[in-house]
């Protein structure tokens, strides 16, 4: 894993976007540092809802993905992490803000130009069973982006390239003739990765790439992704709810809650010294595979459910579940505060809240009444 300094060095003090009340922005790279592959600035993606206010899936997210890094995006269902990933390919239409890929503002690109965008940004989905066409052979699926983007014209050359891509992801070339149902879950996800590599993208959005795989296969896929990144200098946006996997895979991590980024930093910063109460609660909820640790563990149990993104709480969005919420948390959107080099947290009581949570015995707050949608 890249050391903390290499990924956070040179951050401008207090570097946040001009759109302050939008959660902890991931600071952009300063001049001379790693080039940015993708930037989101105050991105908002609202979905219209029948007979009600729009669902604010993403509501003011700013982040930068730098070339060669893995940026982990964690959050629970309904946090907007997947929608953020889809917006980078313009698979959902932004309601506001800008999306820049490889220096170009792609926010308003026409359908025709989007084809070029989708060569630069590729995506690997959670369920390879669902994302691969069951009627196409593995080879045809992998060749599709080569044809669409006009990369390899002759059929024999395409076959060679498909074989090469299969080899890259650790599959035998004979598998090109098989159909997805003939493969195991791990093999199918390897095909999904080969397909994403076909267009030699600048950025690969990995949306829960290991979540539907068996435990023994998850480690294989994580190792493969990291090897490919080293060998091909790939850039990843790794979206997952599995915090241990995100920690293992990422150079930097952004934590989302209800459409906003609440905390950003290196895995070491976030996991050792979480500064936002939500990050602290999330970390304390992960079970550890050690019965002795589990028995003596003091867990921060959050009360209730995530509020509806169609009607988010005023001020800090986490305040309705935060064990340390105070009356003025309802008044203003918390501004991201730098708590360490490149480590930002959007909490008014940063520095006080998390130590207080850890000192207090965990008292679950009563849940808020009212129907909640089940999330995305």
């Amino acid at each position: 894993m890249t050391g903390g300094d290499a990924t956070t060095g040179g951050v401008r003090p207090g570097a946040t976007t001009p759109h302050q009340p939008t959660g902890a922005a991931v600071p952009g790279p300063p001049a001379g540092a790693a080039e940015s592959v993708a930037e989101l600035d105050d991105l908002r993606v609202w979905f219209p809802a029948r007979g009600g206010p729009p669902v604010r899936a993403v509501d003011g997210v700013s982040l930068t993905v730098r070339r060669g890094e893995t940026l982990g995006l964690v959050g629970e269902s309904g946090s907007g992490k997947s929608t953020t990933g889809l917006a980078l390919l313009r698979l959902v239409d932004p309601t506001g803000g800008t999306i820049r890929v490889a220096g170009e503002d792609v926010t308003g690109w026409s359908r025709r130009r989007l084809r070029a965008l989708r060569r630069r940004v590729a995506m690997v989905f959670q369920d390879p069973q669902a994302s691969l066409d069951p009627r196409l052979t593995v080879g045809a699926s992998i060749a599709e982006p080569l044809i669409v983007h006009g990369l390899v014209d002759s059929a024999p050359a395409r076959r060679r390239r498909v074989a090469e891509l299969l080899d890259l992801v650790g599959l035998r070339a004979e598998l090109a003739g098989r159909h997805p149902h003939e493969l195991s879950g791990g093999q199918r996800q390897r095909v999904g990765i080969a397909r994403a590599l076909a267009g030699e993208p600048d950025l690969i959005v990995l949306d829960e790439p290991i979540a539907s795989l068996d435990l023994s296969v998850q480690a294989q896929i994580m190792n493969l992704l990291r090897r490919l990144q080293r060998e091909l200098t790939l850039t990843y946006l790794f979206i997952a709810h599995d915090l241990a996997a995100v920690e293992h895979m990422s150079d930097r991590v952004a934590v989302m809650y209800l459409g906003r980024i609440v905390e950003t930093g290196t895995p070491a910063q976030l996991y050792r010294e979480p500064a936002h109460p939500y990050t602290a609660a999330l970390l304390s909820a992960i079970p550890v595979a050690d019965p002795a640790v589990e028995r003596h563990r003091r867990r921060i149990i959050l009360g209730g459910d995530v509020p509806s993104p169609a009607d988010p709480p005023s001020g800090c969005r986490f305040r309705t579940r935060c064990p340390q919420a105070r009356p003025d948390c309802a008044e203003q959107d918390p501004v991201p505060v730098e708590v360490g080099p490149g480590h930002l947290a959007a909490c008014r009581y940063v520095g006080e809240a998390v130590p207080a949570m850890r000192a207090d015995p965990p008292v679950p707050r009563p849940a808020e009444p009212g129907p909640h949608p089940a999330g995305t």
């Binding site: 629970e76 023994s216 050690d290 209730g304 909640h372 999330g375």
Partner: protein
């Protein structure tokens, strides 16, 4: 001496499929006592869910089930299907991964919780409704007196799972079977549900069988754990012993393959290959083709017996690890 609630002996389940007979479960023995939690861990197709479904008479019709199952001392395999159904309804509560498979979308939540109380406890409709409000309160659903008339779609995922737990507890069962009850939930909700089940178990003395693939959850909930692979138990014992000194190469590999902050940076010690196909299981140890220890021809041809390596800790391998993890 603790009271045995469910005991399974020599349970074997064979499923007839179009491509032949699949041996889903092969000779499984375990038991769970009142107030105890028994965890079954394994990957997809390991037989962990099927063994419990078959034991409680819920296996698919195409399944051939052999072996003995005792529920509260009564031999389930010897009684009529009606009696079995009655015993199951009265003494066993079920919580499955997806709460919507247990909830009827067109009935109110309260109606569904009350149903068991009327059916098995002989309550009137009125009494059962009051009991449903109590149960919804017990599982931490806010304003239960109003929520009792809500429909499942008006609940969030975590609240639905709480409602299913309320349904499962309606008859104050002696046994709660939780099949991946938190897998579809977020980690903060998972923590709530784990806490809820532990609390109810302390108060009601319920025996719990918790089926999961998450070793972290096992470490938190279980008293005893059995690891399944290819339809058989490969390791079984007190949770501390199994996690501190796993004896089977599969258990060790599974624990090692989890990302661990203490060993960040390098590659994860992954297990090669995929879990075995129940239609095509090897003659010997099912893990042998993927085993990092590798052993010898004996592993390929001969089934290793479950051997006790420490009191109550049994391992099915010719090459048990002796040292701690």
């Amino acid at each position: 001496m603790t009271r045995e609630v469910l005991a399974i002996e020599e349970l074997t389940v064979t499923l007839g499929t179009r491509r032949g007979a699949a041996r889903a479960v092969a000779g499984v023995d375990w038991s769970v006592a009142a107030g105890q939690t028994f965890a079954l861990v394994g990957e997809s197709g390991s037989g962990k869910s099927m063994s419990v479904l078959a034991a409680t008479g819920l296996a698919p019709r195409t399944a051939r089930v052999t072996g003995r199952v005792r529920l509260l001392g009564e031999e389930l395999t010897a009684v009529s299907p009606q009696r079995r159904r009655r015993l199951r309804g009265r003494h066993v509560g079920f919580v499955f991964q997806d709460p919507m498979t247990s909830l009827n979308p067109v009935l109110t939540v309260g109606r569904q919780v009350a149903e068991g109380c009327e059916e098995h406890l002989g309550m009137t409709r009125r009494q059962a409704r009051d009991r449903a409000v109590e149960l919804l309160d017990l599982v931490g659903i806010p304003s239960p007196a109003q929520r009792v008339d809500a429909y499942p779609h008006q609940f969030s995922g975590g609240m639905r799972q709480r409602a299913v737990i309320a349904m499962a507890l309606a008859c104050e069962p002696d046994l709660l079977i939780a099949d991946e009850p938190t897998t579809a939930l977020d980690v903060t909700t998972q923590a709530q549900i784990v806490e809820l089940v532990a609390d109810l178990q302390r108060r009601l003395g319920t025996a719990v069988v918790w089926i999961t693939h998450d070793l972290g959850v096992v470490a938190g909930v279980a008293d005893t754990v059995a690891v399944m692979y290819g339809g058989r138990i490969v390791e079984q014992g007190p949770v501390d012993a199994v996690f501190a000194a796993p004896g089977h190469p599969y258990t060790r590999a599974l624990l090692a393959a989890r990302p661990d902050p203490a060993h960040a940076g390098g590659d994860l010690p992954a297990i090669d290959g995929s879990p075995p196909n129940p239609l095509d299981l090897p003659a010997g140890c099912a893990f042998w083709p993927r085993c990092p220890v590798r052993g010898d021809a004996r592993c390929a041809d001969e089934l290793p017996p479950l051997t006790e390596v420490a009191p109550g800790h049994r391992v099915r391998t010719f090459y048990p690890a002796r040292e701690a993890r």
